[in-house]
């Protein structure tokens, strides 16, 4: 039982989409492959006929400034994201998340697009991109289109894209301006699958000692990447004080739907520790924005 029969290496987005719709099925795109290969080997994914390797697609491997945005191709390796000075300058939360995804060897192969494509509500890269208000570029046989990052997610492990004809090309992030900063933090347990108990990313813009704008993402805080919109609204226009933090945390706890994950964490435990994590991320980002 070979895990795949045919391996194709398109060099453009157009070729990749074309291969996806025309290759003998089942055809599946492979980016880093660090998850897909395991799914194939361990029988969670049935053997496929065609693997379409996206890592030879030049456009998907670009990482560059485009106008007032930062573009990160979906096939850019996680370690490159972690090490790139542009990402450090404009999306520090993503650097921090990228440095925590899996281990160093895996990060050299795994891609930022792959981290998102699995649609896990607590993937480290996903949570950072959520707080950074990314947009996704998606290609289909009809062409490419942009969509809000959070629209990629339909449910836990469920992408809103049509996997038989659509691929994520890359992500656009707004360039950071003075007074803006971000941060990513997480809490793990040492046993079992290396998924975070909880992760949290904060992006904010300061106007002196006030929050001009703030975005808070927490994973897993719902079935799709969770934005603590109530907490954000509470903080907007206020200074960072103990009292205001407590109010924001209260709003976050009221809105988030923490669940119990077997062998990882109970909902109670998540509710108990989220405050410390949120505070840590918020204060760090606040300090950076000064």
């Amino acid at each position: 039982m070979n895990l795949w029969q045919k391996y194709v290496r398109p060099s453009s987005v157009k070729e990749a989409v074309q291969a996806l719709v025309s290759a003998p099925p089942p055809a599946v795109p492979i980016a880093g492959g660090t998850d897909l290969m395991l799914d194939l080997k361990q029988g969670r994914h049935a053997p496929v006929h065609t693997l379409i390797d996206l890592t030879f697609v030049d456009e998907m491997k670009r990482l560059e400034l485009r106008g007032n945005e930062l573009f990160i191709g979906a096939a850019v390796a996680v370690n490159r994201v972690a090490a790139d000075p542009l990402v450090a300058a404009h999306a520090q939360a993503l650097v921090e998340a990228a440095n925590l995804i899996a281990g160093p060897q895996v990060r050299n192969a795994a891609t930022i697009g792959g981290n998102v494509a699995h649609a896990l509500p607590a993937a480290d890269g996903t949570i950072a991109l959520t707080a950074l208000n990314a947009q996704a570029e998606v290609a289909s046989p009809e062409g490419t289109r942009r969509m809000p990052f959070t629209a990629l997610f339909a449910g836990p492990g469920k992408s809103s894209l049509d996997k038989s004809r659509e691929i994520i090309v890359g992500f656009y992030l707004p360039q950071a301006r003075k007074g803006q900063a971000s941060c990513f933090k997480r809490i793990m347990r040492p046993q079992g699958v290396a998924l975070p108990i909880l992760n949290c990313s904060v992006w904010l813009e300061r106007e002196g000692d006030l929050f001009k704008e703030v975005r808070v993402a927490v994973g897993p805080g719902g079935s799709t990447p969770f934005r603590a919109a109530e907490a954000e609204a509470f903080l907007r226009g206020k200074p960072l004080t103990e009292e205001n933090f407590s109010g924001a945390l209260e709003a976050l706890l009221a809105q988030a739907k923490f669940r119990t994950s077997a062998r990882r964490a109970s909902a109670d435990y998540r509710r108990h520790i989220v405050g410390g994590l949120f505070k840590d991320a918020l204060e760090t980002a606040w300090g950076r924005a000064a």
Binding site: M1, N2, L3, W4, Q5, K6, Y7, R9, I30, G33, T34, M37, L38, K41, Q42, P47, L51, D53, T55, A77, N79, A102, G103, P104, Q105, V106, N108, A109, I187, R189, P190, Q191, G192, V193, A194, R263, A265, S266, D268, Y269, H272, I273, G276
Partner: protein, 933 residues
Amino acid sequence: MTNKINLTVNGVNKTFESLPGETLASLLRMRLHLTGTKIGCEEAECGACTVLVDGEPTMSCVYPAERADGKTIVTIEGLAQRVHEEMKLHPLQEAFVEHGAVQCGFCIPGQIMTAYALLKRNPNPTSEEIRFALKDTLCRCAGYPSIERAIIAAAQALRTGEPVQKPTHIPDSARGGSHKAVGHKFHRPEAVEKVTGAAIYTDDIVLDGMLFAKVKRAMIPHGFLKKLDISKAKALPGVAAVLTAEDIPGEKNHGLVVYDWPILVGLGERVRYVGDALAIVAAETQAIAEEAVSLIEAEFDLQPVVTNAVMAKQDGAPQLHEKGNLLKHIKVRKGDMDKGFAEADVILEHTFHTPPNDHAFIEPECSIAEPLPDGRMNIYVGSQIPYQDRAQVARALGWEESRVRVIGQLMGGGFGGKEDIMGQIHSAMLANVTQRPVKLLFDRQESLIVHPKRHATQITVKVGAKKDGRIVAMQTELYGDTGAYASLGEKVMTRATTHSAGPYDIEHVRADCYAMYTNNPPAGAFRGFGVLQSAFAVESMMDMLAEKLGMDRIQLRRMNALRVGSVTNTGQVLRDSVGLTECIDKVEAEMKRLDPDPFTPKVDPANPNLVRVWGFAAAYKNTGLGGGAPDISGADVELYEDGTFQVRSSAAELGQGLVTVMRLVVSEELGVTPDKVSVLVMDTDLTPNGGPTTASRQTFVTGNASRLAAKTLRDQISATMAEKYDVRPEQIRFEDGIVHVNGHSMTFAEVYKEMTAAGQKPCVRYEYEAPKTQPLGAGGDMHFAFSFAAQAAQIELNKLTGEVRVLKVISANDVGMAINPLGLQGQVEGGVMMGLGHCLTEEFIVEDGQVVTDRLARYRVPGIMLTPEITSIIVEHPVEAGPYGAKGVGEVSSIPTIPAITNAIYNAVGVRVDKLPVDQELIARQLWEREGK
């Protein structure tokens, strides 16, 4: 349609036709025969398969070969340079050898490649940067501190162009004295091949015409096999044989003590755990074998599942074996419990639980059976008991033992997990039928499901003490889950029971243990051999008792510690070699040097949620089989024509360093440098029986056999020379590779000529038998030696999240004599890390008989990021019968770590961990419930 793959490997351009489903690891290993790249898990978890792809360290096991098109690959074989005729090691390779970072060696190619990539982009990495880069390159021998030091030394050599600095922090034995070899630092004989990728492990062997095997497992925990249809598998093209229980030529069961484990479960017979084998397949390729197994259909009459030892003992529990569920009721009796507890001022009782653990050696099980034209069979395997493998394979085939030759291979870790038969009989049966070589390699999932684990236990300790701290009574009740089959369950749980009162001299002791069969994977030998579990219970209890008495916990241990003259709970008078109080004193002194008030938690000024504090524990562990079992090892020492020696024994080298011990002992006795002594182990045709490699026994027994064989050979040489030169044998001296006879100086090459001219073959076999022991209950010496240890662990605990990190461990071990200080360092570091793993990261989960943790990704073993600073203190109280006074260390070094950590957790926040592994959520929950929020 295939694509071309054009790639550069170690500087050479190659082109291949692509193959469906091929990974880069497979291309390198199978098509280029670059077997230095190892496969440990195929899950991108262990890092053994790391190679550089365009300079970036990459897991080749999940990397499609076709993606490597146009890329430059460097493997471990590409690092050493050929300079003229000599191989010049890369400084990293040299540093790994010199610093003792190489143990079993299986992970080493991955470690070195990962480190190589790091040094390319960062020539002067900090400790933190090294740890970050090596986070996911696992070493189960866990020589992480040595690996880190080796990388720092290599980086320095690369920057300065100076030679690699040798380790300076590892002292020679204080008892080295006049010795030139033993007690001094020498690297292991096979270290160089292990760092260049030249070392061959079983799966690296390819024989002509070899078939590949796969086992059909029951995958149900309990039931009767109603139907087994192998017809579709047999009909699959490429399948050479499909065998079932009916095809076993000889005895149907195997086992190490009790023959209760079916080689294959037959129709109508009972399946007792998920890993039970129903059928075996040999095919032209691994993929065909796997497909054939998937075509085998089995039906069962399912039975209720016995999930734990306590349930197994209850009335009405399904009975799993003819004799019932009780493998053994083990009893220890000393004194009078009623009297003891009546005398006590304080009585405490508590129950503890420990889970199963997996050895998680990075090399999964592999065996190759090769039928020979003369009717014999070779078995290539990394096994801890080669002669047992021979006996068991022969028994299953219905052959004389001499028809089977076990050729032991380098072993990528064992830790007790490679004592039982795994694939050896299956590959032999298939080879016998097909008359072709057959390789049976377990994948990681099969390894996790099938081989015996550490026993899960429930241990209740009741202790009684006087106000002044003198312990007068200790009563324990243990349940041990030995799973579906006995394996070494009786022996393991006996050790758990006899050590359950701790290393203390107590007048009234009673212990009862029930070793029970269940429908869980079998439990057997695992470093620590039951004592890890009971030490967790009793050492937790010692801290609880100290608190209750308001007494210093170290003083409590010191007051009750075993000493020379003490009587153990099995009635053994300790006559010599009891270094426990010295271990306790030295650990205490070092800990208090770092923190004069070690048990009072210190809050981190920068983060009030973080507290740091120390915990303490002591331990002891027998060396050798004991309990009345004859403990014998044989060794040959031979002088060759070129003046070099070889020492041979079928004792196993699994990374622990026995081969170094054998080499040093022989070079010491014969007055030659260690490089003049080669070592051959684990070949049942060529090496005498060294017995099982278990119970920390090999340094003692095979060390002695090697020493006495060498000494006897020396005596023979002396006698021959004395006669020839007409001097007294005592006048002949062996020094610096030269034999001095009455003014003549002779090389060993000349000695060889003289000996053979005198009609003597300069080869001696010595069969050493350790001092006799007595069975449990008989009183007297149950063991011929014990090793002792104490450890202190400093932890950092987060009061909000319950997270625990171990910062420092001080480990003192009484080893009698440090024959091989470099290897000893590895045993100490690895022992601490294994204890730390069991305490914090490793949780082997079985639910209703099904293994949940059937992937390395779910069963986490500790990596370099979790490695604390480890300080090793060597204590040497020689045991008279040991070689140069040495006794075992492999197990005792891992035993006190768990309670040292859990005691520190209590000291930090007052939460008593009584169930392993530590659950951070449970700690956090207890803290928030206590504070009422």
